[in-house]
């Protein structure tokens, strides 16, 4: 990596090997700036009959070659560096193929070191299969059974502050040794275990585990109760991901030789990009990536980065689990027409068993977007519960409530402080109208006060994340110009109200000096077009009891950014946000909101029913 001179890079080829699709993007320097040129994709080939990830990578690059009209491959080799119009200067890749990085973590106290270890693993891009802790309520033999059953790619063992007791750490190490866990991939190699706990217990851990697993020691991830030190553990996870896990996945040894930059787990790379935006713009950010199998949520609040993965919330493989977790009424509340429960259940299951199908009718699209709202909402709930301040930190309290954990460990995710909400993944990135993505995110996340909304145009944040490790400027330029599609600003008044009562008056000073006055009632949703790159000065006057950021009933003057959707004024309520429960009122309200943002084609969604579906006429 050290021999890469960022300023000399003329072209960069980046791939992301996903669980179903391998995506390749070609970035070139045009004049003084870097831009996305083309994107290609091909099915991932980690599984039989190919069992070689490079096959899919080559296929996706061949598509890039076709679309860009230039040669990149010489047989099965990427031409580097670029010679004339052939080849590229740099090739990089991320991967989540084969189920990504699956880890088990262990700490002494579940809500303290256990949670810190979980955050370290998630932050590195892993799926956490289980958190084992001394006080997790399971009996020792149950823990051992669980460890044996799981077969993770890697284990992170932590526990204890430096200088604290070592007996609990020893106990956890003994449990691990007794379980003698086996790695998921490749029966013939030792399971990597990272120890990042009390430094006084290092010798004990070495003695217990040294001969049974590939043990790696790093700094304590919770050296004192008041501070987490997740960086070293995260770095070790990345190293071991390359050395052990990737090296045993089919074809990865070859792929690793193609790139001078380590292959990064996909979510880890997306996390880097989200962290970079938050740091550079000094803002609070939430990012979400909703895939077929999983939904990842990233956030940066008060400079603290958090990532969670909801391993079984997704739009194809896991779609049936969204129904199981959210429940049918929660999905149906977003659907503005009637559909029989039996029919809907069968449709969802059919999507699960045939995950690559796409909605053909408007009705199917509406149902899919209703499911997406619930998947996003549930994933965000999980994120909020894990993105918390450190638990177990002693507050200014008496000795008697030292162990009371309630006032520490509150969620860091504050929707009223959120500046930017970025959505990614098929259902958001490829929604036929961008306004559909905007409303899905508003409904699922319920941002408060003033928030900018954006989507990843074609899902290339992973590739840009890994690029940012070698060429931050190129990554930022492509991200700003070709990746991030700014949808516009949303203004949401927080507080309870009565449907139809006056809620918010808005005065907008639009570009060119034009003034616009709006009066919104409680329950209203309104769209005001404002082009991308334009801003409007808004004076927001909420009614008594409603807050737009300055306190209840207080006026706020703010500059709102436009986007491909425009400005969205949301007076549907927050804390609480309610959809009418009565069927006719609910359908009328949903249609009112959908029409306000013009999210579906002119055909009235209310009239769509299974019985009325007609074949799509041939369009030739």
């Amino acid at each position: 990596m050290s021999n890469i001179d960022p300023e000399k890079l003329r072209s960069i080829l980046a791939t992301d090997c996903g669980s179903t699709t391998t995506k390749a993007i070609l970035i070139e320097r045009r004049g003084s700036e870097y831009r996305l040129i083309v994107r290609g994709e091909a099915p991932t080939t980690v599984e039989a009959p190919f069992e070689d990830v490079t096959r899919g990578v080559l296929n996706s690059i061949m598509e890039v070659e076709e679309l860009a009209g230039r040669k990149i491959l010489d047989g099965e080799r990427i031409i580097t560096p670029q010679k004339g119009n052939e080849g590229v200067d740099l090739y990089i890749s991320t991967s989540s193929a084969g189920g990504g990085l699956q880890m088990m973590v262990s700490g002494v106290v579940k809500s303290m070191t256990g949670e810190s270890a979980q955050r370290a693993a998630l932050g590195a891009g892993a799926i956490v299969m289980d958190v084992i802790a001394s006080n997790d309520g399971r009996l020792p033999h149950e823990k051992i059974k669980r460890i044996r059953h799981l077969r993770p790619d890697m284990i992170l063992l932590s526990g204890g502050v430096d200088g604290g007791t070592t007996s609990h750490v020893a106990e956890m190490a003994e449990l691990l040794a007794a379980a003698d866990p086996k790695a998921r991939l490749g029966a013939g190699y030792e399971l990597p275990v990272i120890y990042a706990g009390n430094k006084d217990a290092i010798d004990i851990v070495k003695e217990r585990l040294g001969k049974k697993v590939a043990l790696v020691i790093t700094e304590n991830l919770r050296p004192v109760l008041e501070r987490e030190n997740l960086g070293p553990a995260r770095d070790k996870i990345h190293d071991l991901f390359m050395e052990h896990v990737m090296a045993h996945a089919p074809g990865y040894k070859k792929l690793m030789t193609w790139s001078p930059v380590p292959i990064m787990p996909t979510p880890g790379a997306v996390g880097l990009i989200i962290e970079t935006i938050a740091r550079d713009e000094k803002i609070q950010v939430i990012g979400v990536d909703i895939g077929g199998a999983t939904t990842d949520v990233f956030s940066v609040f008060q400079g603290v980065f958090n990532r969670t993965v909801s391993a079984n919330l997704g739009m194809s493989y896991s779609v049936s689990n969204v129904l199981a977790e959210a429940g049918l009424p929660n999905i149906m509340r977003w659907v503005p027409f009637d559909i029989e429960e039996r029919d809907l259940r069968n449709r969802i299951k059919n999507k699960m068993i045939r995950p690559t199908t796409i909605p053909q009718s408007l009705e199917e699209l509406i149902i899919e977007q209703a499911i997406a709202r619930e998947a996003l909402r549930l994933a965000f709930e999980q994120h909020k519960s894990l993105a918390v301040g450190l638990k177990g930190v002693q507050q200014e309290r008496t000795i008697s409530d030292t162990f009371e954990q309630t006032s520490s460990g509150e969620t860091l995710v504050r929707l009223d402080h959120l500046d930017l909400l970025v959505g990614s993944g098929g259902v958001l990135s490829h929604a036929p109208r961008r306004s559909q993505a905007a409303l899905m995110m508003l409904d699922a996340f319920l941002p408060e006060h003033v928030t900018e909304l954006a989507v990843d145009s074609i899902f290339m944040m992973p590739q840009l994340g890994v690029l940012s490790t070698v060429h931050p400027r190129a990554a930022k330029e492509v991200f700003e110009k070709d990746c991030l599609v700014r949808l516009g600003s949303a203004v949401a008044a927080v507080g309870p109200g009565k449907d139809g009562a006056a809620a918010l008056r808005v005065t907008l000073e639009m570009p060119g000096g034009r003034r616009e006055e709006l009066a919104l009632a409680y329950g209203d949703l309104r769209l005001v077009p404002l082009e991308l790159g334009e801003t409007a000065k808004a004076t927001l006057k909420p009614e008594k009891g409603l807050d737009v950021g300055e306190g209840k009933g207080k006026e706020r003057v703010v500059t709102l950014k436009g986007g491909v959707v425009g400005l969205v004024f949301d007076c549907r309520g927050r804390q609480p946000f309610r959809i009418p429960e009565e069927r006719a009122a609910r359908i009328a309200k949903l249609n009112q909101w959908n029409e306000a943002l013009r999210i579906y084609p002119a055909r009235d969604a209310r009239k769509v029913s299974t019985a009325e579906l007609r074949p799509v006429e041939a369009r030739v």
């Binding site: 493989y317 977790e325 408007l362 199917e364 299974t610 369009r619």
Partner: protein, 375 residues
């Protein structure tokens, strides 16, 4: 994209199939290469280490962790019976004695000087692997397992629940458009693999379980019934380990759907034959579909079908089945594959194909929403 990958399920009258039969841990292989086996033949055997029980001996004995080992009445490595005393301490000039009893039968595996815990390993758990299909052992991997090869009819389903089983196949309906009903199941169904047409309900399945039917193969199944059968809402399609007393294989999808005529006809041609079935389904990395294998080892006709033979490019003239609303389940012939993207009712622009459903009218469908049917 340069290729159009269309999923297709294999339905073939004669295929050569290989199935790996592996132990979860190294053990003994009980058969030899070239040996003829039946589905029930045990091909390999091993013993899984028993579960571990921890006993907090230091606490129970009232001694320091480092002193626990001295209190053992039987050394590390010894076998102990359930309830047997294996450690003892004396205090107050020998007047008080504390004893530790084994909570299970097993072996004293280790003693921790730091935590004072004693680990007891329970008796090993024997594990046996059978051949699953009638066939011939073509490969032996010492200590780990074998590969069985068989020839015969092979049908993949789209979804299943329940594990591997074997029995005589019986078609219990008159045609692929008929549901499997209560009256088709009686005492003569015991040990059989029953084939239905459009669907089966949970109540009929329960009767089948009661009558000792080993598996049911149908076109469609309702999610509502699946929930009743399993007792929970299935979230992720990873199945095969359910213990339902029956294996269910669905060939077409969820809902009431007639079994594809070709599948039904092939199953009917296997009437009375011994077949092996597996309901195991995994629709994630490493797609696994449920299957029905009807071995016919004496078959001489050479028509080997590679397992991935149905996956590949679509072309005009191919038969396809629609796998999503609004035409779900309909079968038609591809008449054109226009290269350009076309808008759907949803306004999404996608790659499409033109299909003739046999009534003269032609319809455009997203390529992603059809699957190829072998013809």
């Amino acid at each position: 994209m340069a290729h159009s990958y269309t999923p297709g399920l294999k339905v073939t009258s004669l295929a050569t199939l290989r199935r790996e039969r592996k132990l979860p841990l190294p053990g003994d292989v009980l058969v030899t290469e070239g040996q003829r086996v039946t589905a029930e033949t045990i091909v390999a055997r091993t013993q899984l280490p028993g579960n571990v029980q921890t006993v907090n001996a230091a606490n129970l004995l009232g001694v320091l962790p480092e002193d626990v080992e001295e209190c053992l009445t039987k050394p590390v490595g010894s076998k102990v019976e359930n309830g047997e005393t294996f450690a003892e301490s004396r205090s107050f000039f020998g007047l008080f004695r504390s004893k530790v009893h084994a909570p299970v039968k097993g072996t004293i595996e280790s003693v921790s000087k730091i935590t004072g815990q004693v680990l007891l390993r329970e008796e090993p758990i024997p594990v046996e692997v059978d051949a699953y299909v009638d066939g011939v052992i073509v490969e032996v991997q010492p200590k780990s397992g074998v590969t069985v090869e068989t020839r015969g009819a092979f049908i993949q389903g789209i979804f299943g629940v329940g594990g591997e089983t074997c029995g005589e196949l019986h078609v219990a309906v008159a045609g692929p458009g008929e549901p499997l009903e209560d009256r088709a199941i009686d005492t003569s169904s015991r040990g059989k693999i029953l084939v239905g047409g459009t669907y089966v309900t949970t109540s009929v399945l329960r009767k089948a379980i009661a009558q000792g039917v080993k598996a049911v193969v149908v076109g469609g199944f309702d999610d509502y019934d699946l929930r009743q059968l399993l007792g929970y809402d299935l979230g992720v399609a990873i199945t095969g380990s359910e213990e339902l007393g029956i294996t269910l294989i669905v060939t077409e999808g969820f809902g009431s759907i007639p079994m594809a005529a070709r599948t039904f006809d092939l199953l009917r041609s296997c009437e009375g034959r011994r077949v092996s079935v597996s309901g195991a389904t995994q629709i994630r990395a490493g797609v696994q579909r449920p299957e029905i294998v009807a071995p016919l080892l004496e078959a001489t006709t050479e028509r080997d079908v590679k397992e991935d033979s149905t996956e590949g490019g679509l072309k005009a003239g191919d038969m396809v089945r629609v796998i999503r609303q609004p035409y779900f389940g309909k079968i038609g012939r591809v008449t054109a594959l226009p290269p350009e993207l076309m808008p759907l009712e949803t306004e999404a622009k996608v790659r499409v194909l033109e299909v003739d459903f046999g009534n003269g009218s032609r319809t455009f469908l997203p390529r992603a929403n059809v699957e190829m049917i072998e013809s």
